[in-house]
C-alpha cells in the first residue's frame, strides 16, 4: 500500500469524486482518472496474477504497453475481459475485477506453478504432453482448464457500434508535438487531414509538461496548434481514437471511443499519405525478480504524476542507462518522493546530472546495476552492486523501482504496411527504415519524431515538417545508452511479463537450436500476449543476440501484426448485426404474404413465401394442396425476385448469340425464347427467357440467385469481348414486380381481368408476349411456364404489383385460384423435369448432360462452345439428368442419396450418380426425384439403389424420363 495522491497538480478535477469498485471493494477516484491511476492513488499494489506462474503483478506502464494489469470491466452482458486498466477511463459506478486468479488476486492457489517453475521451462507443453498420443484429449482438457484469460460475457452485447468510411489526403497518427507540427506544416498544401490520438487531450505523453516548445510553454504551444488546425476547415481531429491496423492500399482502421448512444465507432480510413507520429515506448531494464509489484517504467510514473497526481511510491530507486530517465527522479523528488538512489549502468555520467543529483541530495551510483529486487508480495528493496562486482553488493530499501532503458519507437503500423525496421546503434533500438518503400508506387507512410528514433524536441519538430513536405530528415548524432550485460542471478528475470517468459527461457530456446527470432517467439511465447510484446521487443532481441553471439542488428525483429491493441468484437461487427447482418430484400407483395401467414424463407438475399399453410395443415399437406391445385385449377405465385434486364440497341441479338448456346437472330418481335448460358469451361451457368418486345428492345429474365452475376457477365461480354456492339444493358429487377398464374384455368382468369389485348391461344401462344392494360394497370404478359401448365408471367411496375396481385386474388375465387410458394413451385418443376442452377446444374454439368444437346447452335460462336468438344465432355458415361421413381410407391427417396447398383458390393462401392431434387408428386401420387446418373439416358427402366448412409436408407428406384408429366407439352401449349 504505497501509492498516494499528491495534494496538487494533475489534470484531475478534485471537485468531482468518482466512486468505483475493484475486486468488490469500493474506492474513490476523480474525474480525469483512469482505472490505473485511481488504483495507484488508492494504494492498490496487486492488480493481477501472471499467466503461467500466477505471480502477483502490479502496474508497469501508462498506456497500451501495459503487460500486467488486465482486468474484467463491467457486469453481465457488458462484462469485457482482458482490458488494460491503463486504458479504462474512470466513470461513476465502474466495476472492475482481477482475472486469472482463484480464489482471489491476493491469495491464488495456482501460484504453486511458481514453485515448480524449474519443472516447466519453455516448450514444456510441447515436450511433455506428446506421449502417449491417445492421452492428448485428456491433457488438453486439463491444460485448457488451467489456462485462459478472462471470461467472455454470456449474453448478447447490448451496446451499439458504428462503422464509418473516410478518405483523407493525409492521415497523421499521433497528436503529440511531432504529429501536431506535421499536421500544421501540411495545412499549406494538403486538402484534407485527419489527425488521431489515443488520448482524450492532444499533446502527447512523451513530453515533460514543464518543457518549452519553440520558446513557448508546452501547453500554450499545443493549444495554439490545435486551435490552428481546428479553424483551418481542412482538419478532422479525432481524440480517444486508436489506429489499430494498416491494411492494403493505405487503409488504416481506427477505433474511436464515443460517449452517447454509440459505444465505439470503427473508422476505415483510406489515406493518400500517412505520417506516423506514434512516439515510442520506454524500454524496461532487466534484473532479478523484476516483476514484483512496485517495479515500473520511469516515464509511466512521471505520466501518472503529471496527469493524475497519482504517485506510485514513497521511497524510490531509479535504474537508468541514459540521461533521459533522470527527469522522472527529479520530478518525483519535487512531488515529495524520497529518492533512495539513482543507479546508472553507465560508468561516465555528464556533469550536469551529477550536479543536479548532488543539489537535490540524491545518492548517485554511476557504474552500478540492480541485481534483483527484494520483498514478498511487493517490492521492499533491491540489491545493487557495481557492474562486474557482484561481491560488492549492498541493499537499498525502497517501495518503488523505476527503470529507464531508453526508447523503442512505436513503429507497429509501419511493419503492418510491410515496412522493415532497421537497428540503429545510436539509440540501440529499431527504427522504421525509410528505404522500405523503394521501388514501390504508393506507400505514403513516413515516420517522424520519436517513432523515427528522434528524441530531442528540435529533431521532432524538424522531422515532422520535413515529412509533411514529403522530404526525409537526416538523423543527427547523439549519445547511445550503454548496452547491459544480462544479470546472472537465480531469481527469474522477466522479459515478457504478460506471458511469463524469462531471460533463461530465451537462452534455453537458443541452446535447443532455435535461431530465427520468429521461431524463438513462437516456442517461448515471447511477445505473444495481448500487449503484443510492446515492452518486450528490444530486450528479447538483445538477449537472443547475446545467446547467439551476434550483434542485435543481425537478429532482426519479430513482425508485429494488427491489431496494435485489442479490438472488441462488437466494434468489428459494427451495426451489421441482427436484422442488419444481411438485410432482406422483399417483393412488392410481401405485405400480402405476411397477412396470409405465409411461411417465409431466405432465398439468396430475398424473403420469399415457401408455402401458405391453412389451419390444421402440415407443411407437406400445404405443398401438395398448392401444387395439386395448379394442375387442376390455377395458382398464383410471386416471381418478382427473378433477375430482370432490359436490353436495347440494334445489336442485342448478336450479344445474345454470344452468351446463349442457342440462336437469337430469328426471334421475331412479340416472341420469347428460352436460353441457356455457359461458362467458358462449358458448364451450365444460368437459364431464363428473353423476350423481343420490338426490333431493338429486349427483356431478359435470369434465375433469382444469379441476377447480379448475369448482369456482370453481360456487361463483360459487351465491353470486353464485343466492344463494337451497340447495346445498352439496364438492370430492372427492382423496377418490375412479377407474378405467375399457372394452371388449366389460367387463361380464363386472365381473360376475366379485362385485358385490352387478346389472350386466346392464337393471339397469345406459348412463348409470346403481350403488352397493354390488365385490370386497368399497365402490364407485360409473358406466356411462359415453369410448371408445365398453361401459364402467364404478369409484369407490372413495382408500385402497381401489389394492386395487380390483390385484384387477381379477388378475381381468382371463381376459378379455384390459390397462391403457391416456392416449395410447390419446386414440386411442379421437378414433375416437369426442369433443372435449376445449384441443384442439377452444379457447375460441372454440361448442356448435353441436362438433355439440352439439341439446343446448341452449330452456326455461331458462343461462350463455352469450344470447351464442349473436350474428350471428357463427350464421354458416354457422363452423369446425365434422369428421373427416378421409388419402386415401392409409398417409399420416399432420400435427399442427396448416392445412386449405386448394389450396396452389397465390396467397399468402395462404385457410385453411379446422385439425387439432385426430391419431391412427393401429387400428380403421380408417389415420390419422384431428379438425379444425375452415369450413362443414365441409356438405362431407362433399370433399377438402382438410392443409398443414404447418413440416414441408413436403401431405396430401390427405377430410372425414367425426367419429364414426369405431359412429355409432349400439350398442357403447356394448349
Amino acid at each position: 500500500m504505497s501509492g498516494w495522491r499528491a495534494a496538487t497538480g494533475g489534470r484531475i478535477d478534485r471537485a468531482q469524486p468518482i466512486e468505483f469498485s475493484f475486486n468488490g471493494r469500493r474506492f474513490v477516484g476523480y474525474e480525469g482518472d483512469t482505472l490505473a491511476s485511481a488504483l495507484i492513488a488508492n494504494g492498490v499494489d496487486i492488480l493481477a496474477r501472471s499467466f503461467k506462474y500466477h505471480r502477483p503483478r502490479g502496474l508497469v506502464a501508462y498506456g497500451a504497453d501495459e503487460p500486467n494489469a488486465l482486468v474484467e470491466v463491467g457486469e453481465g452482458a457488458r462484462r469485457e475481459p482482458n482490458v488494460k486498466a491503463t486504458q479504462v477511463r474512470l466513470v461513476p459506478g465502474l466495476v472492475a475485477r482481477s482475472q486469472n486468479c482463484w480464489p482471489s488476486v491476493g491469495f491464488d492457489l495456482m501460484a504453486v506453478n511458481d514453485l515448480i517453475a524449474p519443472l516447466i521451462p519453455s516448450g514444456f507443453y510441447y515436450k511433455t504432453f506428446k506421449w502417449p498420443v491417445s492421452a492428448w484429449p485428456l491433457y488438453e482438457k486439463l491444460i485448457r482448464g488451467a489456462a485462459g484469460m478472462g471470461r467472455a460475457p454470456a449474453e448478447p452485447d447490448p451496446d451499439a457500434y458504428e462503422t464509418v468510411h473516410r478518405h483523407t489526403h493525409l492521415l497523421v497518427i499521433g497528436a503529440g508535438v511531432t504529429g501536431l507540427a506535421a499536421a500544421a506544416a501540411a495545412l499549406v498544401h494538403v486538402e484534407s487531414i485527419l489527425i488521431v490520438d489515443e488520448q482524450e487531450a492532444f499533446g502527447g505523453l512523451g513530453t515533460v509538461e514543464t518543457a518549452r516548445v519553440e520558446g513557448q510553454p508546452y501547453g500554450d504551444w499545443v493549444a495554439g496548434v490545435v486551435a490552428l488546425l481546428r479553424t483551418s476547415g481542412k482538419v478532422t481531429l479525432l481524440p480517444r481514437s486508436t489506429a489499430y491496423g494498416h491494411y492494403d492500399g493505405n487503409r488504416v482502421c481506427l477505433i474511436e471511443e464515443v460517449s452517447g448512444p454509440v459505444r465505439l465507432r470503427r473508422w476505415m480510413v483510406d489515406a493518400d499519405r500517412i505520417i506516423l507520429a506514434t512516439g515510442a515506448f520506454e524500454r524496461p531494464l532487466l534484473f532479478g525478480a523484476n516483476d514484483r509489484p512496485g517495479v515500473m517504467l520511469a516515464s509511466a510514473a512521471q505520466a501518472y504524476l503529471h496527469r493524475h497526481a497519482a504517485v506510485p511510491g514513497r521511497r524510490c530507486v531509479l535504474y537508468v542507462n541514459n540521461d533521459g530517465g533522470y527527469e522522472a527522479a527529479f520530478d518525483l523528488h519535487s512531488a515529495g518522493v524520497a529518492i533512495e538512489a539513482i543507479v546508472d549502468a553507465r560508468a561516465a555520467v555528464d556533469d550536469e546530472r551529477t550536479a543536479r543529483c548532488r543539489a537535490a541530495g540524491i545518492r548517485h551510483l554511476p557504474g552500478h546495476m540492480i541485481a534483483h529486487s527484494t520483498g514478498r508480495r511487493r517490492v521492499t528493496g533491491c540489491v545493487v552492486h557495481p557492474v562486474g562486482q557482484p561481491a560488492a553488493a549492498m541493499s537499498l530499501p525502497c517501495d518503488l523501482i523505476l527503470t529507464a532503458g531508453g526508447w523503442s519507437p512505436a513503429a507497429h503500423l509501419f511493419t503492418h504496411a510491410g515496412g522493415r525496421l532497421r537497428h540503429e546503434e545510436r539509440i540501440g533500438a529499431l527504427v522504421p527504415d525509410a528505404q522500405s518503400w523503394d521501388g514501390r508506387v504508393s506507400t505514403g507512410m513516413a515516420a517522424a519524431g520519436a517513432c523515427a528514433g528522434l528524441f530531442e524536441m528540435a529533431d521532432c519538430l524538424a522531422s515532422a515538417r520535413a515529412v509533411a513536405a514529403g522530404n526525409t530528415y537526416t538523423l543527427p548524432s547523439g549519445a547511445a545508452p550503454a548496452p547491459l550485460a544480462p544479470v546472472n542471478t537465480a531469481a527469474k528475470q522477466f522479459v515478457d511479463l504478460q506471458n511469463d517468459v524469462t531471460a533463461a527461457d530465451l537462452g534455453l530456446a537458443v541452446r535447443e537450436g532455435y535461431r530465427s527470432i520468429e521461431h524463438v517467439k513462437r516456442y517461448t511465447t515471447l511477445g505473444m500476449g495481448t500487449d503484443q510484446g510492446k515492452l518486450v521487443g528490444l530486450n528479447g532481441v538483445d538477449l537472443i543476440a547475446a545467446a547467439q553471439g551476434k550483434p542485435a542488428a543481425a537478429i532482426g525483429n519479430s513482425r508485429p501484426r494488427p491489431p496494435f491493441s485489442p479490438v472488441t468484437f462488437g466494434a468489428m461487427a459494427g451495426p451489421f448485426v441482427g436484422a442488419l447482418f444481411s438485410p432482406a430484400r422483399t417483393t412488392p407483395m410481401h405485405g400480402w404474404h405476411e397477412e396470409q401467414g405465409a411461411v417465409l424463407a431466405n432465398v439468396g438475399s430475398w424473403r420469399r413465401p415457401q408455402l401458405y399453410r391453412r389451419p390444421g395443415e402440415s407443411e407437406m399437406e400445404a405443398v401438395i394442396r398448392e401444387a395439386g391445385n395448379v394442375r387442376r385449377h390455377v395458382g398464383i405465385t410471386d416471381v418478382s425476385t427473378l433477375g430482370k434486364i432490359d436490353l436495347q440497341g440494334p445489336d442485342v441479338s448478336r450479344l445474345l448469340d454470344h452468351v446463349y448456346i442457342n440462336g437469337w437472330s430469328t426471334l421475331q418481335p412479340g416472341r420469347c425464347r428460352y436460353g441457356v448460358m455457359l461458362r467458358e469451361d462449358g458448364a451450365v451457368m444460368d437459364d431464363g427467357t428473353t423476350t423481343r418486345l420490338s426490333a431493338d428492345r429486349w427483356f431478359m429474365t435470369t434465375t433469382t440467385g444469379n441476377a447480379e452475376r448475369i448482369l456482370a457477365h453481360l456487361e463483360r461480354a459487351r465491353q470486353v469481348d464485343l466492344p463494337d456492339l451497340d447495346v445498352t444493358i439496364t438492370p430492372v429487377t427492382e423496377q418490375w414486380g412479377a407474378m405467375a398464374i399457372a394452371g388449366p384455368r389460367a387463361r380464363e382468369l386472365l381473360a376475366a381481368l379485362d385485358p385490352d389485348f387478346a389472350v386466346d391461344n392464337a393471339a397469345l401462344p406459348f412463348m409470346s408476349v403481350a403488352e397493354g392494360r390488365l385490370a386497368g394497370i399497365e402490364a407485360r404478359v409473358l406466356r411462359v411456364s415453369f410448371s408445365g401448365e398453361r401459364a402467364y408471367e404478369i409484369y407490372t411496375a413495382s408500385g402497381d404489383a401489389h394492386a395487380m396481385w390483390t385484384t387477381i386474388a379477388a378475381a381468382g375465387d371463381a376459378f379455384g385460384l390459390m397462391p403457391y410458394g416456392t416449395e410447390a413451385m419446386m414440386t411442379l418443376r421437378i414433375e416437369k423435369g426442369l433443372f435449376v442452377p445449384g441443384f442439377e446444374a452444379d457447375g460441372r454439368t454440361l448442356p448435353d448432360d441436362l438433355g439440352l444437346g439439341r439446343m446448341i447452335s452449330r452456326k455461331k460462336e458462343f461462350i463455352g462452345r469450344r470447351s464442349l468438344g473436350r474428350p471428357a465432355f463427350t464421354a458416354s458415361d457422363r452423369k446425365q439428368l434422369v428421373g427416378l421413381m421409388a419402386v415401392d410407391r409409398a417409399q420416399a427417396i432420400p435427399r442427396g442419396a448416392q445412386i449405386v447398383r448394389d450396396p452389397a458390393m465390396p467397399v468402395p462401392v462404385p457410385l453411379d450418380g446422385h439425387v439432385t431434387s426430391v419431391t412427393f408428386s401429387p400428380a403421380l401420387d408417389r415420390w419422384i426425384a431428379l438425379a444425375l446418373v452415369a450413362g443414365g439416358r441409356a438405362a431407362m427402366g433399370e433399377t438402382r439403389i438410392a443409398a443414404s448412409p447418413l440416414t441408413n436408407e436403401m431405396v430401390p428406384v427405377t430410372i425414367c424420363n425426367p419429364v414426369f408429366i405431359d412429355p409432349d407439352g400439350e398442357r403447356l401449349r394448349g
Partner: protein
C-alpha cells in the same frame, strides 16, 4: 484500398468485383458445324493462369458504380495499382 476506375476515379474496393487475369479470348478458328477437340491455345485460355509476383494485368468490374469493365495493372506483392487502362 481504393481502385482506380477509368470512369469514376479512385473508389473504395467494396464497389468492385474482380474479373481475373486479362486474357484475350481466342477467336473462333475452328469450324462451327461440329464441336471439335479444343486446341492448346483454348486450353491455356480456360484453365492455365500465371501467378506472377509483381505486375499483373487483370480485369475489374465497377459493379456498384458505373458498371465499367476495365483493365488494371496491380503489383500482386503490394496491391499497388500501377497504371490505368480502359477496357
Amino acid at each position: 484500398m481504393r481502385i482506380p476506375c477509368p470512369c469514376c476515379g479512385p473508389r473504395a474496393m467494396a464497389e468492385f468485383s474482380y474479373g481475373g487475369a486479362d486474357l484475350s479470348r481466342p477467336v473462333a478458328s475452328l469450324p462451327l458445324d461440329a464441336p471439335s477437340a479444343p486446341d492448346a491455345e483454348w486450353n491455356d485460355y480456360v484453365y492455365r493462369r500465371d501467378n506472377p509476383a509483381g505486375a499483373h494485368r487483370e480485369l475489374w468490374f465497377h459493379a456498384a458504380g458505373c458498371r465499367r469493365w476495365f483493365v488494371a495493372r496491380r503489383d500482386t506483392r503490394t496491391n499497388d495499382f500501377l497504371s490505368e487502362a480502359g477496357a
